[in-house]
Subunit: 333 residues, 2 copies
Amino acid sequence: MALTTKTNTTTKPKIVALAGGVGGAKMAAGLQSALPRGCLTVIVNTGDDFEHWGLHICPDLDTVLYHLAGLNNPEMGWGRQDEAWTVLGEIERYGGEDWFRIGDRDLALHLRRTEWLGLGLSLTEVTDRLRRLLGVPSAILPMCNEPVRTLVHTDEGDLPFQHYFVRRRCEPSLVDLSFVGADHALLSREVHKALKEADAIIFCPSNPYVSIDPILSVPGLRDLLRQSPMPKIAVSPIVNGQAIKGPAAKMMRELGEVSSPLTVVDHLGDVLDGFVIDQADAALSDAVILPALVTDTIMTDLPSKQRLAQEILAFADSLRPNPLANPTPTPTD
Amino acid sequence: MALTTKTNTTTKPKIVALAGGVGGAKMAAGLQSALPRGCLTVIVNTGDDFEHWGLHICPDLDTVLYHLAGLNNPEMGWGRQDEAWTVLGEIERYGGEDWFRIGDRDLALHLRRTEWLGLGLSLTEVTDRLRRLLGVPSAILPMCNEPVRTLVHTDEGDLPFQHYFVRRRCEPSLVDLSFVGADHALLSREVHKALKEADAIIFCPSNPYVSIDPILSVPGLRDLLRQSPMPKIAVSPIVNGQAIKGPAAKMMRELGEVSSPLTVVDHLGDVLDGFVIDQADAALSDAVILPALVTDTIMTDLPSKQRLAQEILAFADSLRPNPLANPTPTPTD
């Protein structure tokens, strides 16, 4: 499994993961633990970002950051472990919005980010500062620096993503999605470089509509993926007709689709070279129009994340035009 | 003592207090407890305001607000009682500034204020929202809505006020003070109305140089005081040659003055009609060029604050052109 080599050789694979929320963060943590230090770059959805309490909140970036730093809250899925809630209680006293719950530890990050953005740093620079301060060895890149906002068109009207997702608990029925601002977004130098240099690109088991599609909406990004000769593999977020977490299955049904891994392949197929489905859906593997890996995709703890990551990396290696058994050395790390 | 009438008559006195930090907040709390509900307006120094953690911090406004709401921290003198410090610890993790300590409960107020200011509300409107939410019956007015910043010229160079006061613990020697932005400040409608309608104006025992002078630097405010026929009484912040709290005495010496109540009279005398000195300085009372009240000015608890306030209000009443024994009814409350 050349892509997971942990020995100190001259070769280090460069793996890029595309990630959204909790499923993406778990997969990213598995890849980080399966790879040599510094080999992973995670490109993260920022379509969920919004302003709250006057601060710039990046839910998916933070979920990935906290998972990769080992600071995530395993019970809640989002936010920090050992969290405290003093500020939220006071915000309620002052009549502030409390439907999006920000804990005290989490809040400190939003304060620093907002302050740094206000000083003129890009979201990419701010995110890199934060991951270094938390000792995260992997690069974490926002999909772009410009604001792109997922707007959810529902049977009850248009809702900004967090209002749909958190405030309304995904109850309104999905009609369509827009990524407002995507036309004006730019492929950042860092995202461009990561995708150009990637030895493999993994689409984490994130919601295809609201986690992966916003990333693909950044102008130029989809073309870059299509042109890349390296393996691009998606992990199904749908297992046995259900989403492991979140509204992906519900959204599929509301869009008139079957909640099935095959719907994910249909949706993302033009940029993929391989697909990973859960063993519970083994019967569907023949219907996947791409090379498929069938395995246990349920990530309950670090060993299960790491094992899945190793299997995916080996699968990717098998799809490479020139498998890394005889890799070319990279000049710098 | 007509000015302290607590009975439900048609007359309610209108008392204005000018206040800075802790001494001002204690005096304001005493006046609030001695007066009928809604009779007190506190005009507060905002020369100490600054940006910290990307938030708009108003230390003197908050000290007054917390004292009048009964939420102040009696041990620290500033900030909230029952305070928690989770966010500060995390800010330190992210390399943020920790020399100005913001507690979790206190932070919520700064967040709300900053968010409201960002939405276009004036500092006067924001402060009024906050005091209503905290159930404070007195009006609390920032001295103006525009930024006026106390700049401390020291033997070690110029320092923004909080850097001098908190970060450097007032160690550098004072040379002079500037109130940057005062030329562009405007007398707010609310401050103008409060001063015009006041039955008495009390200068709390706040630092004359960095609490009272910034208020007097607002264009038009000093003239309004001079023109007012109502009693204007200052309470000495200097007792027995020392400041009860803060650097007032040290500043006086560094400016070549004697640290004495008489120096306060010299400094503020042109706008005063009466002066209150502590019984420890009774021997100086003959040297005061204004009518003087000699009493115990040390405020250790609510009863001592309330008693001092009552004595000051009675003293003010004795100085009124038409004492309130036969007051004219106010048409509205």
